[in-house]
């Protein structure tokens, strides 16, 4: 048996409950009689907040508790959330902001929680929330992504959170000065709202000694630790669970202020409390994504080989440091900043800016889509500017197969890759040869057509460690305990299939246990496309331990040496008995060998893996209206070995759709006062079915050498490739009119306005 399993497109086991309406999402599991929580939120973006008097509100019908910042001490809840900070170029640390869980003395974005109301019914809680008067003296709002403006945090002059940098700038400068060709590109990576279809929510309950906290999340252990710290509890007093989760995309991987005040309220009241955000509330309070501007410089020698690359980025952090915001456009951007190119002379600078907008944090890909978009948009611009074929320019600069393992200039060591092979394949699949005819057909209809290529590489992230435990129940079932958390990726199917492939245990006998901090001691959660690779590696290690233990046990029992396991049955020399894993476990149980009924191993990946691939998009523009349609979209990926090709492909479809959404339809608008003008689906355009084409998908696998299955991870790849593919296709289409494409998102009006330059230019 190969260690990567049978690579079958197995239909998912979890789907039965989802297609019959029996999924259990957070708002489906509220305990009977739970009280309802509603937040009073700031309606202004920036202002001084007077102490909030809730005396009258507490007397309203059904109100059980009303809490503002001043009341948190009494509730025993700390009023400051944690966040990671980066190191500045000069060695000092980035700014640590005080991020309160309820606004304290100042409000800094529209939607910031000011008070928590808990009441018997949702309507009563809303009535009370509406009656709260929060006295706010307006301050000027700071909304642009540039240093300066009204200061949000006293310890962040000019609103600059950090001035991060990597690579020697002087070396890069002189390389650029001596280069044959230099191309500058401005790349605007627009803000998005994540909008998982299930908004955020939680339930909290206190039984007198322990807190149970359930929420739609991407893992339970980090939140358990934070809850313990913020509520001054011992970790063992906190039980955190994730039920079915209706999409996360990084956004649900972080802690939020609402969780702590609600947990504190549940403890104070000794009653269960439920909270479910409404869509507008979610759009105002969920971590946003992207929102950065990168000015790049690419320098080439006379043969169009890259000699230097410099990136100057400013990124928006929103009003506070969210949990992992600072490292995204810095340490994570760095991971794949030089893409798939043999590029030794590189420098990156990034400044983080506070604004009076909702905080920004990880969104599908977190730093890597941004880095690849900046680089691949710049490469395309260079090809166009220098008159070189965009595929040829990339081929000239690819890291060649014989250069692996390849240590990049600033960060990572890529283990394997064959970028030429992938590029050749995608060119065939996308029918590049037929493009001229398709363009002519579009022109004949009065439309513009453009084609865009993005060659991306991705670095798998997240915790390198993971634990699997296999436990034989007395009901004939085998439980596999995992440390990751499905948000819709189909982990139950993938993990059960994998365990079955490795052990011969029928999948029907396997139950996956996830998302419960009592049942599972530790785990890394889901994020960074890590889950299947790390979890299956841990499962494999656990299976090996179990196999050896069973072999020893059988050897003891039979007196035979040389017992073999063939992935389905144990072969005992001189015996016709060929027991399965389940058989051996039953024997062990009969013998009272409890030690043989549960196995657990923790692994640490020696290194990351690097999924890569090429996307080719073809767009058609209606110049009369500015409407852009994606006519063809072709992906060839190298994900290494695939465990379940159908599920991997599904990840690509979804990732590409999120990238196309960001590129074409999804636009976040804050006005000058910091009001979010796109706070409902009436104004924020989620991509619909007819905004998207069928997505062609093929693979050219080069198995990774950094894990036993040869996998590479696929959760984020689609998004990483899509932005530049679409933007480059738009640039190509605009070039037919001698024009530059506008910045993303390519909304109809923006595209139409940009096409009006033609008339102006012609005058």
């Amino acid at each position: 048996m190969e260690k990567f399993g049978k690579a079958q497109p197995v239909a998912r086991f979890e789907d039965h409950r989802f297609v019959t309406g029996h999924g259990r999402y957070i708002d489906d599991i509220a305990p009977e009689g739970a009280l309802h929580a509603v937040f009073v939120r700031s309606q202004v973006a920036h202002g001084t907040l007077a102490p909030v008097d809730l005396t009258d509100v507490r007397e309203m019908d059904g109100v059980r508790l009303a809490v503002a910042a001043e009341d948190l001490d009494e509730l025993g809840v700390r009023n400051s959330m944690k966040a990671t900070v980066v190191k500045n170029r000069d060695g000092t640390k980035g700014v640590k902001t005080l991020r309160p869980i309820l606004a304290t003395g100042r409000v800094r974005f529209v939607g910031e929680p000011i008070a928590l109301i808990v009441a018997d019914t949702l309507a009563q809680a809303k009535d009370a929330a509406e009656a709260v008067f929060a006295e706010i003296d307006d301050l000027p709002a700071k909304v642009d992504i540039a240093p300066g403006g009204e200061t949000l945090h006293e310890n962040a002059p000019e609103n600059v959170a950090f001035t991060w940098g990597k690579g020697d700038e002087d070396t890069v400068k002189s390389a650029i000065a001596g280069a044959a060709h230099v191309v500058h590109t401005r790349v605007v990576d627009n803000r998005i709202i994540v909008n998982s279809m299930e908004p955020r929510g939680c339930v909290a309950d206190w039984d007198g000694e322990r807190l149970h906290f359930g929420f739609g999340g991407q893992g339970v252990w980090g939140t358990r630790d934070e809850l313990a710290k913020m509520l001054d509890l011992k970790k063992k007093q906190v039980h955190v669970t994730n039920p079915d989760v209706g999409g996360g995309f990084g956004m649900k991987g972080m802690d939020y202020p609402e969780y702590f005040s609600i947990a504190g309220a549940a403890r104070a009241l000794g009653r269960p409390i439920r909270w479910m955000s409404e869509r507008t509330e979610a759009m105002l309070s969920d971590n946003g994504g992207r929102d950065l501007i990168s000015d790049t410089t690419l320098a080439f020698d006379a043969d169009f080989r890259l000699v230097a690359y410099h990136v100057e980025t400013v990124c928006n952090l929103g009003a506070y440091n969210s949990q992992y915001a600072q490292p995204i456009q810095t340490d994570l951007f760095l991971k794949v900043a030089t893409g798939v190119y043999d590029l030794r002379t590189v420098s990156l600078n990034c400044r983080g800016i506070y604004t009076n907008t909702t905080q920004i944090d990880a969104y599908r890909g977190a730093g890597r889509p941004e880095a690849i978009f900046a680089l691949e948009r710049s490469m395309d611009n260079a090809a166009r500017t220098l008159g070189v074929d965009p595929l040829d320019l990339r081929r000239r600069n690819f890291i060649k197969p014989d250069q692996f393992p390849y240590k990049t200039a600033l960060a990572e060591t890529y283990d394997v890759g064959d970028f030429e092979r992938v590029l050749d394949r995608v060119a065939r699949e996308a029918d590049l040869a037929g493009f001229a005819a398709r363009r002519a057909a579009s022109e004949a209809k009065g439309k513009l057509r453009g084609q865009g290529l993005c060659y991306y590489i991705e670095s798998i992230l997240g915790d390198k460690e993971e634990t699997s435990a296999i436990e034989y129940g007395d009901n004939g079932k085998v439980r596999l305990y995992v440390g990751t958390q499905s948000n819709g990726q189909g982990h139950e199917t993938v993990y059960a299939t994998f365990l079955s492939d490795q052990t011969g245990i029928p999948v029907e006998a396997i139950e996956i246990v996830q998302g419960d901090s009592d049942l599972i001691k530790e785990g890394g959660g889901t994020g960074g496309s890590r889950s299947v690779t790390v979890q299956n590696t841990a499962t494999l290690a656990t299976v090996e331990t179990m196999t050896r233990a069973f072999q020893s046990y059988l050897a003891e029992k039979t007196g035979e040496d040389g017992i073999e396991f063939d992935d389905e049955r144990f072969r005992i020399p001189g015996s016709n008995e060929t027991p399965t894993m389940l058989d051996v476990a039953a024997m062990a149980r009969a013998d009272g060998r409890e030690d043989l009924l549960r196995f657990q191993e923790k692994i640490e990946l020696e290194s990351r893996s690097f999924p890569n691939g090429a996307h080719i998009a073809e767009v058609e523009i209606d110049p009369e209206t500015g409407l852009v349609s994606v006519d063809r979209y072709t992906v060839t990926d190298d994900f290494g070995n695939l465990i379940n090709p159908m599920l991997a492909e599904g990840q690509v479809h979804g990732g590409v759709a999120q990238g196309i959404g960001q590129a074409l339809t999804e636009r976040v608008v804050y006005d000058g006062e910091g009001q979010l003008l796109t706070a409902t689906f009436m104004d924020y355009a989620m991509p619909r079915a007819y905004d998207l084409p069928m997505i062609g998908f093929t693979t050219e696998p080069v198995p990774s050498t950094t894990n036993p299955m040869g996998m590479k991870g696929c959760g984020e790849a689609g998004t990483v490739g899509a932005l530049a593919a679409i933007a480059n296709a738009m640039a190509d289409a605009f070039s037919t009119r001698g024009l530059d494409a506008p910045d993303m998102p390519f909304t109809p009006e923006r595209v139409w306005q940009a096409l009006q330059q033609e008339a102006i230019a012609a005058e």
Binding site: V19, N195, R279, G488, G490, G650
Partner: protein, 165 residues
């Protein structure tokens, strides 16, 4: 308070609700049928679709009292015992769902389409899903699942590799 009697998934139901109680609240909170979801406040996302007297409607944009006397079918009523409805089966077979949150609405929407147009084209399917938003699948496999459920040929799943994986 309003007294209502209606049929939900073939079973008679009586309830006392406030005037403002939405149909989706009646289903989820009063009747405990949580398969119908709420994904937005503005009638855009379609996670709450149910059938009322055979017509697909948004249960978040209809008052419970308006369903007095009606026959309501929710996602929980689509399967016949243990046998999945062909659309449910197609979503499962063709990986037409990931997180599953939009799925009940998608299935109810697809059922309405196929009742009216038993052999829709890909374009007709995409157009029909105007009021159903999915964040996970890129709609690719949802469209394929609906084609399959209509008994039409489904474009091949395209995952192919040159190397032997």
């Amino acid at each position: 308070m309003e007294s209502l009697s209606l049929t939900v998934n073939g079973k008679p139901v009586s309830a006392e609700v406030e005037g403002r109680t939405l149909l989706v609240q009646l289903l989820r909170e009063t009747l405990g049928m949580t398969g119908t979801h709420v994904g937005c406040d503005t009638s855009q996302c379609g996670a709450c679709l149910v059938h009322v007297n055979g017509d697909v409607v948004k249960a978040c944009t209809m008052f419970a009292f308006e369903a007095d006397g009606a026959e309501v079918t929710t996602i929980e009523g689509m399967a016949d015992g243990d046998d999945l409805h062909p659309i449910q089966e197609a979503f499962r077979t063709h990986h037409g769902l990931q997180c599953g949150f939009c799925t009940p609405g998608m299935i109810m929407s697809a059922a309405a389409l196929l009742k009216e147009n038993p052999k829709p084209t890909e374009a007709e399917i995409r157009h029909h899903l105007e009021g159903n938003i999915c964040r996970c699948t890129g709609y690719h496999n949802i469209v394929r699942a609906i084609l399959a459920a209509s008994g039409q040929p489904v474009p091949e799943r395209t995952a192919t590799a040159t190397a032997d994986a």
